[in-house]
């Protein structure tokens, strides 16, 4: 038979008292993890949307369009890693949506074979529809682009009447690549005939994807101070980290404040909760349960409430964020990771601090507690 003083006996038989305590912790965890996951969705979106740049290094001449062949020659002659395809491309601006507003994106204009090679490099080998024809106002896009821009096969990704997604002719989608990568491509001949500026860019690929990062760094350093601009994924990472550094500092302060407020609230609740049990503690001490035994029991009860509240908070967060992702984020291909570990790590101080404050509150209460006052009804 279970001991009548087992911590869970009290908790289970007094759900109306223990549930609100756990509920506050659930809400705190939900709030903190929710804020962090949504905040983290911004850099996650940046990294995902522009993830295609991990597969190549982009190089564009600066101030002198005639520099492209020179840049190409340097790369071919001096590259420290074995090179894969080195493509010439052009880029047309378009706009994708994010939870913080529109972001610039590019429709890469390539030659027929390069389009296929580039897609293969990204692992996007499954195509619904067909590849764009040479020189035609046609495009092939990946599924996330289709979702994000709310397009479908046959609709125009660029068109004359859309100043943010402009092309003098409607550039219709004729093929959809099945991949998670964000990618849009069109024939370079069409771009050359209809778009500005007339600058050829270079798409440089290491033969092995494992060496792409090394190539990125080399090109970046090699063209420093030259009439060239380098687009490399590691720079995107650096800039994103830098951009969010201040924001994360603010987030830490906000979460710190939240933890303090919630902890004070919990301490207050714990105090009320324990005050309602003065008669019980008085009686048990009077009949011979030691102060330490009672303290251990109450601390075990608190630990169970705090831990269960935290675990339920994590489960609720996961469920809530998964729902948000399914209903609000997925339809527009916005990024959100309900399994974001960082967000859940941010909630770890909640149970620890709450338990510490509870323990202190309980200890203080017991320190000057007189059971005789209870049995004589002076404290009831």
């Amino acid at each position: 038979m279970k001991s009548p003083l087992a911590p869970y006996v009290f908790l289970l038989r007094n759900l109306s008292k223990s549930t609100p305590l756990a509920g506050v912790i659930v809400l705190a965890v939900l709030l903190i993890s929710g804020i962090v996951v949504i905040m983290n969705s911004i850099p996650l979106s940046i990294r995902t949307t522009y993830s295609y740049s991990r597969f190549h290094t982009g190089v564009t001449p600066r101030g002198n369009p005639a520099m492209t062949p020179t840049l190409k020659k340097i790369i071919l002659d001096e590259s420290p890693v074995a090179l894969g395809p080195l493509m010439t491309c052009r880029a047309a601006d378009c706009e994708v949506k994010s939870i913080v507003g529109p972001w610039r994106f590019v429709v890469i204009a390539l030659e027929q074979n390069d389009m296929r090679s580039y897609a293969a490099r990204l692992g996007a080998t499954k195509l619904t529809g067909r590849w764009p024809r040479k020189g035609e106002p046609e495009a092939v896009v990946s599924e996330p682009i289709l979702k994000n821009m709310q397009l479908k096969m046959g609709s125009a990704i660029l068109k004359p009447e859309d100043s943010n997604n402009y092309s003098p002719k409607p550039v219709k989608i004729v093929g959809v690549l099945r991949t998670d990568q964000w990618l849009a491509m069109m024939p370079i001949e069409y771009h050359r005939a209809n778009h500005f500026p007339p600058i050829d860019l270079l798409v440089v690929m290491a033969k092995s994807l494992d060496e792409q990062d090394k190539l990125d760094h080399w090109i970046y350093e090699r063209f420093k101070g030259m009439q060239a601009r380098v687009f490399a994924y590691f720079k995107l990472e650096e800039e994103t980290t830098e951009m969010f550094k201040i924001l994360y500092s603010i987030l830490n302060v906000v979460i710190g404040l939240l933890v303090i407020v919630i902890t004070l609230m919990m301490a207050l609740l714990m105090n009320i909760y324990q005050s309602q049990r003065v008669q019980e503690f008085g009686l048990l001490q009077a009949i011979g349960l030691s102060r330490n035994t009672l303290l251990r029991r109450i601390l075990a009860e608190s630990a169970i409430v705090v831990f269960l509240g935290w675990v339920m908070g994590l489960v609720s967060s996961l469920a809530f964020l998964s729902l948000i992702r399914k209903v609000l984020f997925d339809p527009r291909a916005f990024m959100l990771d309900p399994f974001d570990r960082t967000a859940y790590l941010y909630t770890v101080p909640v149970p620890i601090v709450i338990f510490a404050v509870s323990a202190l509150t309980i200890w203080t209460k017991f320190h000057k507690f007189d059971p005789v006052g209870v049995v004589e009804r002076r404290l009831v």
Partner: protein, 217 residues
């Protein structure tokens, strides 16, 4: 078994010393029923708390089986109470979220399956077998007090301390409670505080307290 030697308990009230118990010499023998009688505020409950170790004497000493309370820690004193003493208070304090049976089981240091059997037997002997699984709010005042007695008598308690256990009951119920305590205590001693002399008819000795001092034995 319990011996108070020149035991005093002093409270401070607005900077003035008040003697709740003054220079008490008293010995409680094995199996003895001692009644402590006195008017309200005479210090009889304070004497009981000093004898059972719920309050420590501010001067003099109290010992159980030769062990002076002042020589042991609060933890050890609590353990000594739980193992050897049973308590019945004026108000029938029970834990509201535990059944009558579970409340009785609280009187035992290490509740287990054996305790459950003993507690059930205790409730049977108190005429509460059919109410073992009821919660305190489903019991009458008299029944609750009997559950408290069951808790106080569980195990082999050497002394049962009863502080005005009949104060909230009518005379008949009060007499029944005393009878239950006396007849169920086995070989244990009973120390009962009351202001009603008629409740102490079966006492072996009656100690009268006035102004914190023993007036007569």
């Amino acid at each position: 078994m319990i011996e108070a030697r020149s035991a005093s308990l002093v409270y401070e009230d607005n900077g003035k010393e008040v003697f709740a118990c003054h220079d008490i010499d008293l010995r409680v023998k094995d199996g003895e029923f001692i009644g402590i009688l006195g008017p309200s505020g005479s210090g009889k409950s304070s004497l009981l708390y000093v004898l059972c170790g719920l309050k420590r004497a501010t001067s003099g000493g109290v010992a159980f089986d030769g062990q002076d309370y002042s020589s042991i820690s609060g933890e050890a004193l609590a353990g000594l109470r739980l193992k050897n003493f049973g308590f019945v208070f004026q108000y029938p304090y029970l834990l509201g979220y535990l059944s009558a049976l579970e409340n009785v089981m609280l009187g035992y240091p290490n509740p287990g399956s054996k305790t459950k059997d003993e507690a059930e037997a205790q409730l049977r002997s108190l005429g509460l077998a059919d109410k073992a699984h009821r919660f305190p709010h489903q019991l009458s005042g008299g029944e609750r007090q009997r559950v408290c007695i069951g808790r106080a008598l569980l195990g082999t308690k050497r002394v049962v301390f009863a502080d005005e256990p009949t104060a909230n009951l009518d005379h008949l119920n009060g007499m029944a409670v005393v009878e239950t305590l006396v007849s169920n205590r086995g070989s244990g001693s009973l120390v009962m505080v009351t202001h009603d002399p008629s409740m102490l008819e079966r006492a072996d000795r009656v100690v009268t307290i006035l102004d914190g001092k023993i007036h007569s034995v």
